[in-house]
Symmetry: C2
Subunit: 140 residues, 2 copies
DNA sequence: AATAAAACCTATCGCATTACTCGGATAAGC
DNA sequence: GCTTATCCGAGTAATGCGATAGGTTTTATT
């Protein structure tokens, strides 16, 4: 039950942008240095976030990235889902259908109920925390 | 955020033993067939569960495995932790210490708080469900 | 106009882990 | 002594992760 660095770095980078929200484009390089992430690797991650519409980019000198929405409107769950795909402790949860390709007896599978509860619990936590919440935390 | 098959198969096997609790040793082969798990692979998993004290084994013909405790006394969380190690969405949670080898700024790391909440949430769900609960579910 | 700073893009690659398989050794009931 | 089991250690194919490499385009600044 590990998060990959994609999710972790993604949240760290978005948190960094949230701290500088409203200051114009923030260069990827500065984010990489502050958050201690490989610059080239972070580039790929920012590409994913841009394609998903959470950040916009400005090319050329003095360019960089900025959030497309207010920090309060972006949750940690939004970021994790974009970076890692939907939360699903087991593959059989990837379709809503109880009868699916991953498990024939999904309908009457007892353990499936456990994974559903785990998934919902994780989503509940991740969706309830916004980037603005993290910025608030920082001030203390 | 995926569970490995170790955890999934481990829970499935233990649930199977719980269904047959009190019937004497259950052969690994029969568990493997019912739960659709590779017999040889399940063998390794049962070894882990045995060393952790959750099952006892009887060798030789008519041998097999049985739970060492009542199904109500073993939680899904117990099994997952033995099969997959402690729940820790990120490595920096592997030590309780806020100052640790994984992250220098653990003490004042904002995102760390998110992962702590996720971990606690997962543990809460897994620890609250016992094998007996799963058996109850089956009857419906 | 030249330069430098930045985003953008595609490919590759070592490494670790996962999910097994294989081949036996040991133990116990019949 | 045969069969049915658990026990044990090694090996292995496939996968994904976490980068690295090497470029191209775009744009502000000088």
């Amino acid at each position: 039950m590990k998060l990959s660095t994609k999710g972790r770095y993604g949240v760290a980078a978005m948190y960094d942008l949230a701290l500088h929200y409203g200051e114009g484009p923030i260069s990827l390089k500065s984010v990489a240095i502050r958050q201690e992430i490989s610059e080239h690797y972070l580039e790929q991650l920012m590409g994913t976030l841009r394609k998903s519409g959470y950040v916009k980019s400005v090319r050329g000198a003095q360019g960089g990235y900025a959030l497309t929405k207010e920090p309060s409107q972006i949750s940690v769950g939004d970021i994790i889902k974009v970076m890692e795909g939907p939360i699903a402790p087991v593959d059989c949860l990837l379709t809503d259908d109880t009868a699916n390709a991953y498990c024939q007896r999904a309908g009457d599978c007892v353990t499936r109920g456990v994974w559903v509860k785990v998934r919902d619990s994780i989503n509940g936590v991740l969706d309830s925390i916004s980037l603005a919440d993290l910025c608030e935390e920082e001030k203390k």
